[in-house]
């Protein structure tokens, strides 16, 4: 097997690097910078049942070693995504992961089923952790029971492997992970953003129009590593890790903590070539730290316990 290859449920990845959902659109813009066939996979921007306009602007703010965003799930809806975007991405030799979002269980179900009917999507990432999504006042992403429920329903609605994307805004990340594992999740994707806020001193109001936004970037990396490390000890399904990755060494740190593959989000904004650069650098980084292959590094720090 090749140095960088990783096999996950439904995904035979030539390397463990993929752009994170929402930070790469549907790939078009970044295809100006490099050949997307180089990527292990592409995780598309969140899809909802119908078109959404999203939140008012400003939608982003910069923080120390990170940023806040409250895009608000703006997207053209699952049908248009399949028609225009999946078709576009299919020309590349890479796996396509669809990020599934919704405001109600039914919407999740609908989006998952609709993606299931197209052959071009390889896996679903179930976004239960979008801070703006609630049902009955409870966020799917912070209540183990709700998370299990939506996982079950999406699993039934689709034959595609389902990676449930966990929110870090919880007291007990292991309980969340176990709940969705029991509900049939094929893998986990973690972490989504931490809820944060920045206040503009001149206007005396939050900078983000939505008031709160999701904190991402290297600032949150220690939290992502801790959560993956904790979860890895308690679940058997693979983890796609993310949160602040911006170098091949960061990728190694996620692998050691227990991730089997990784997604790169915010770093695309600093460097549109980041995924490509990391893929180039990864073999050297593996060698430097004595690994023969990506698979050798996965969960190593946990095994050292």
């Amino acid at each position: 097997m090749s140095l960088l290859q990783v096999n996950l449920p439904g995904l035979h990845l030539k390397n463990p690097i993929m752009p994170a959902s929402g930070c790469f659109g549907f790939g078009r813009e970044y295809s100006q910078f490099y050949d997307l066939s180089k990527l292990g996979a592409v995780i598309m921007k969140a899809a909802t049942g119908s078109e959404r306009f999203g939140n008012p602007t400003p939608r982003v703010a910069e923080t120390a070693s990170g940023m806040l965003n409250a895009i608000g799930l703006q997207n053209p809806g699952v049908e248009k995504i399949i028609e225009n975007e999946v078709t576009f991405l299919s020309q590349y030799d890479t796996s396509i992961i669809a990020n599934v979002a919704g405001s109600t269980i039914e919407e999740y179900e609908y989006v998952a089923r609709t993606f299931n009917n197209t052959k071009a999507v390889h896996a679903l990432e179930l976004n239960i952790s979008c801070p703006n999504v609630k049902e009955g006042g409870i966020q799917f992403g912070t209540d183990p029971k709700m998370a299990a429920k939506v996982t079950e329903i999406v699993k039934k609605a689709s034959n595609l492997p389902v990676y449930v994307k966990l929110s870090p805004n919880v007291t007990d990340i292991v309980a969340m992970a176990k709940a969705v594992e029991s509900a049939g999740a094929d893998g986990l994707s973690m972490i989504n953003t931490l809820t944060g806020m920045q206040i503009n001193l001149a206007s005396k109001r939050p900078i983000i129009a939505n008031k709160t936004g999701g904190l991402s970037g290297v600032a949150i990396k220690p939290i992502a590593i801790r959560m993956i490390y904790e979860v890895k000890q308690h679940v058997h399904i693979p983890i796609i890790g993310m949160g602040g990755i911006r170098s091949a060494e960061d990728v190694l740190e996620f692998l050691l903590a227990g991730a089997s593959a990784v997604a790169v989000g915010t770093a695309n904004f600093s460097n549109p070539l980041i995924c490509s650069d990391i893929i180039d650098e990864l073999p050297r980084a593996l060698e430097r730290y004595g690994f023969n292959a990506v698979e050798d590094a996965i969960g190593k720090a946990v095994m050292n316990e």
């Binding site: 659109g25 306009f53 982003v60 965003n69 970037g217 904004f269």
Partner: protein, 251 residues
């Protein structure tokens, strides 16, 4: 096409209060930039790039000029860069100004504060095509005024300051009624100014350049949308803009 480039700082000068003029060398960007486009600059220690308009291009010398105001930590840090340093830049970014000149005789440029820079390259380019150019430039106060003589080289130039410490006192909108006839206007400046102008000149063909906080700067993240009258209902400032027809966007 947008590209990741290294730009060498040829010179850097403070030309008005908190305002830096930087001349940057790079063949790709100088070759391809059109008026109204911007470059997206990575500042060390910062996650998000800073969008700065292209204020002038010298294709012979392969240089691009930018003008920026020290506002927060990013522009402050950028102002500390020295001649000889390199900037990590994406560009040329966005869609520039409509510069088809068919049937065009006179244009009005309206720049407010740090919205003045993109007007310069635009006006210079239009004047070269024998379009008659009138410029109205608004600044906070005398200390903030820059590029007046440069605009005078190709246009009749009116300067206003908010406090009246230089030129006329008031806002750009107070001068516009006095500038005479024009076929089209172009504007860049703070949002309240753009709102006032597009209202006042709603009968005229106009193009305005908008600002918004950006994530990716390439059209992928949907941070910088502006509501429009078009079918989709929105456009992205970083890739569809920053320049829009005044009538299509909802300010």
């Amino acid at each position: 096409m947008i590209s990741k480039q290294r730009m060498k700082i040829v010179s850097t000068n403070q030309i008005a209060k908190d305002t830096i003029e930087m001349v940057l060398k790079n063949s790709y960007i100088s070759e391809n930039a059109i008026p109204g486009q911007f470059i997206h600059i990575l500042v060390e220690g910062h996650t998000l790039r800073r969008p700065i308009s292209i204020a002038d291009v010298d294709k012979d010398n392969e240089t691009v000029t930018i003008l920026f105001k020290k506002l927060g930590s990013g522009t402050e840090k950028l102002s500390e860069s020295k001649a000889g340093d390199f900037l990590n830049v994406l560009g040329p970014s966005g869609n520039g100004f409509e510069t088809s000149t068919e049937g065009l005789h006179t244009v009005l440029l309206i720049g407010g504060g740090i919205g003045v820079p993109p007007m310069y390259y635009l006006g210079k380019s239009l004047a070269k095509q024998n379009i008659h150019v009138i410029s109205v430039l608004g600044f906070q106060s005398k200390d903030h005024v820059f590029y007046e003589e440069k605009f005078q080289q190709f246009s009749k130039t009116y300067v206003v300051t908010n406090d009246g410490s230089y030129g006329d006192k008031g806002f750009v909108t107070s001068v516009i009624p006095n500038v005479g006839e024009f076929d089209r206007y172009y504007s860049c400046g703070p949002l309240p100014m753009l709102k006032a102008i597009t209202n006042e000149l709603s009968e005229k063909e106009g193009f305005i350049s908008l600002e918004e906080r950006m994530g990716c700067g390439v059209g992928a993240c949907f941070a910088c949308v502006v509501p429009t009258n078009t079918e989709k209902g929105y456009k992205k400032i970083c890739s569809d803009g920053p320049v829009f027809a005044a009538r299509e966007v909802i300010l």
